[in-house]
């Protein structure tokens, strides 16, 4: 099912292996951070490595969950369950939360 074709400012791909507790946590945390820092300005793609080993190789994924920021360049890579909000936001270069300067 195709998402919106419109290019968002932040393009993120989260590489996971199936619906494990870790990937579930990573998905939920990442979605929360994005909604808080850049609502409407991001596009999130969840890639299951077990179904897409080729994509994993291409993006040099060494561990899951791994998040790759594809845009804006340069590529940024984060590993883990995305539970440290401030670190994730900073590494992705997301704007500060509204009403709460970082």
């Amino acid at each position: 099912m195709a998402g919106k074709t419109e290019q968002k400012r932040y393009r993120l791909s989260l590489y996971v292996i199936g619906a494990t507790p870790h990937s579930a946590r990573a998905i939920v945390n990442l979605r929360r951070i994005c909604e808080e820092h850049a609502p409407g300005e991001y596009e999130l793609r969840v890639v299951d490595v077990t179904h897409n080993p080729q994509a994993a190789k291409e993006h040099q994924i060494v561990a899951t969950p791994t998040l790759i920021r594809e845009a804006p360049l340069p590529l940024q890579r984060l590993v883990g369950d995305m539970s440290r909000d401030e670190v994730v936001a900073r590494r992705l270069g997301l704007p500060p939360r509204e009403g709460k300067p970082s």
Partner: protein, 684 residues
């Protein structure tokens, strides 16, 4: 960190070093991040090339298989974490909710749908099941953000991690909206069918062919005289209810249906527990199992009323045929004596006695025929509700006297003894005197006809509680209780005693009832049985306010019989009718002219100025209506007494005659006295 290379351009070199440093720091941070994640148990797998090494409970191969199963599933699968955020949805769920997983993962499930329990019980049971680690299965509804609603069959279970800790919920959701709609439509149509069956009073039944055990609906039971369905119904019990004379037929139909494994239909009589007999109609079919007749099923309805109606229709048809035969016979009967009398009158050796006798025969037979036809026309008008009463304020006594006079010949012809009992004071009615007399006369003719010669017939007029009562009692052949029931029905005649020589069409009493009812009255018949006489009672409502207006009957009759000679013109294309009437009128002292058609009549009238014109209506060239209209245009024609003579005495004919300018109307064959009366009244 020591400086090893100095660039020619220190500024550019510094920038390059800074960039390199940032890149290194970035990669270091990534490496540190990975290590930290690893240390903190945030990583569940290490990927080397295309190999995946899982670090925690999840086994990559098993995971992949599970994933493929979920992907292939037709049912939507949605997983949420404990807070209700979507952590997984399969392609079927993407299709079902119209959203891509990537757009929804991590978001609250409400973005996909609003979950609605069908009942509070369901909600409570699901919570209990999940708390116990079980799955809950049931129907739920999901409302999509666009307002669309889905009916779902839902299986809800808990997800746990490797240590048994609860991590979220898994929903498998099968869209049964189409099925639910089909089920609702089916329920609707079943309800409609049920309603139709009940309205049409159709019962349902099924029967196992081998055991004969059967079931039936309430309406099925009603066909056999039970108020609700009967337990232990069977083919055998059914057959026990079938009328013994119909059992063989029903059995053979059933046998053939089993042999042919086809549908069947029969009608038969059944005997109810109260011993009454009813008709039923059965339609059924044989249902096969493995090619062998296994079950019979069908419908049954009570057709007793239809059967009775059929029977009544057949009876009415039979009576109609009989009536037509009687009618032909009755109309032909008088012709023989008339023809004979005409031959006698033509004889050269005619004596005055034979002449008078022949004339009397013709006159009597013609009156008889005219009366038959009048009765027939009257009953036809009553049936078609076309008979109108000429109501006046009358005394029942005098109307009865008139009726008695009219029947005197029939009574005296059989030497019956007539007793008349009249009250001393008038009984006032608002009624048509001619029709009341007709009622009396018809009852007396009936009494005279069905009594052996020399019997006593009593006519009583009396007053009872607001009614004028007319009683005609005879000592004749009487009636059986069966005959009493249909005595006032048209064409009913007591067959066993039907005396053809007495004649009659069997419509006299039907006419009495019709006329009585037109007067808001009633008629009843009593007979102790065959051979023990009959009594007929007619009741009319009394009209007290009319008291003052009853004219003294006697005086109207007192008038001079003699008339001065008038010039009368008769126009009729039937020469015999015109000539015979002319002869009669000349005998009465009138000056009579005869014209054979309308045109001749007009010319003759213009020359001769007749005072009275008697015009046939159906004439060639200029018909009676046209001639009357034309005559009234002329100065000399305005004061002529115009009388229409037609074969049809319908009310609309009379109205049309009046409209054309006629003063009066006579229905052929008319009594010469009626013409005399008209002329006399016109002269006065």
């Amino acid at each position: 960190m020591s400086q090893t290379v100095i660039s020619a351009d220190p500024t550019a070199e510094l920038a390059r070093l800074r960039e390199e440093n940032a890149g290194l720091r970035e990669r270091m941070e990534e490496a540190e991040d990975t290590l930290r994640a690893l240390r903190n148990n945030e990583i569940d797998a290490i990927v080397v090339g295309e190999s995946i090494y899982t670090l925690v409970g999840a086994n990559a191969t098993a995971n992949r298989m599970r994933g493929e199963v979920l992907t292939q599933m037709e049912d939507a699968v949605v997983a949420t974490d404990l807070e209700g955020r979507v952590i997984y949805m399969n392609p079927a769920a993407e299709r079902q909710y119209g959203r891509a997983a990537n757009a929804v993962l991590g978001l609250p499930a409400e973005r996909l749908y609003t979950h609605m329990w069908l009942s509070d019980d369901d909600h409570a049971q699901s919570r209990a099941a999940l708390a116990a680690g079980d799955a809950w299965r049931g129907k739920v509804k999901h409302r999509l953000p666009d307002g669309h609603e889905l009916q779902l069959e839902c299986t809800l279970s808990c997800m746990a991690d490797g240590d048994g800790g609860r991590t979220g919920y898994l929903s498998v959701l099968r869209d049964v909206t189409a099925r639910a709609q089909a089920e609702a439509a089916l329920a609707d149509s079943q309800q409609l069918l049920q309603f139709s069956m009940e309205s049409a009073r159709i019962g349902l039944w099924t029967m196992d062919v081998e055991s004969g055990l059967a079931t039936g609906s309430d309406l099925h039971a009603a066909c056999f005289g039970y108020s609700r369905r009967v337990g232990n119904w069977s083919g055998e019990r059914f057959l026990a209810h079938v009328h013994p004379d119909d059992r063989e037929h029903v059995e053979s139909v059933r046998r053939q249906a089993v042999e042919r494994a086809g549908d069947f239909h029969f009608e038969c009589r059944v005997v109810w527990p109260d011993h009454s007999i009813h008709w039923i109609e059965v339609h059924g079919n044989t249902l096969l199992r493995n090619g062998e007749p296994a079950r019979m099923a069908g419908i049954v309805s009570d057709i007793t009323r239809r059967r009775q109606a059929d029977e009544a229709l057949r009876e009415a048809d039979r009576q109609k045929d009989e009536f037509l035969a009687t009618l032909a016979h009755e109309l032909r009967n008088p012709l023989a004596p008339i023809r004979t009398a005409a031959h006698v009158l033509a004889s050269k050796r005619l004596t005055p006695e034979v002449h008078d006798k022949s004339v009397a025969i013709i006159s009597r037979q013609v009156s008889h025929m005219a009366r038959l036809l009048d009765d027939l026309l009257d009953i036809a008008r009553i049936t078609r509700k076309r008979l109108t009463l000429q109501k006046d304020y009358i005394d029942l006594r005098s109307a009865a006297e008139t009726g008695i006079e009219a029947s005197r010949a029939a009574i005296e012809g059989k030497r019956h003894h007539l007793v008349v009992e009249m009250p001393p004071t008038p009984i006032r009615l608002e009624a048509d005197p001619v029709r009341v007399a007709q009622i009396v006369s018809n009852l007396l003719n009936n009494a005279a006809k069905y009594s052996n010669a020399g019997a006593t017939i009593t006519v009583s007029v009396r007053r009872t509680d607001g009614h004028g009562e007319l009683v005609v009692k005879d000592t004749g052949i009487g009636m059986s209780p069966e005959a009493l029931k249909s005595v006032f029905t048209m064409f009913a005649q007591e067959e066993t005693v039907l005396d053809r020589s007495e004649g009659g069409l069997g419509i006299g009493l039907a006419l009495v009832r019709g006329l009585a009812e037109l007067h808001n009255g009633s008629v009843s018949a009593i007979s102790p049985g065959l051979g023990r006489g009959s009594t007929f009672v007619v009741r009319f409502p009394v009209s007290e306010k009319a008291a003052a207006r009853v004219p003294p009957v006697a005086e109207a009759q007192a008038s001079d019989e003699s008339q001065p000679g008038l010039r009368i013109l008769i126009a009729d294309d039937n020469h015999d009718a015109a000539d015979s009437m002319a002869t009669l009128l000349r005998l009465l002292g009138h000056d009579v002219l005869v014209a054979g058609d309308g045109v001749a009549a007009f010319e003759m009238a213009r020359d001769a100025y007749p005072q009275v014109m008697l015009l046939d209506i159906g004439m060639p060239g200029l018909n009676g209506y046209e001639l009357a209209h034309k005559l009234r245009q002329e100065a000399w024609g305005r004061n002529v007494l115009l009388i229409a003579a037609t074969g049809w005495g319908q009310d609309e004919d009379k109205a049309r005659a009046t409209a054309a300018g006629f003063n009066a109307h006579l229905t052929k064959p008319f009594n010469p006295d009626a013409l005399n009366t008209l002329i006399r009244e016109w002269g006065a």
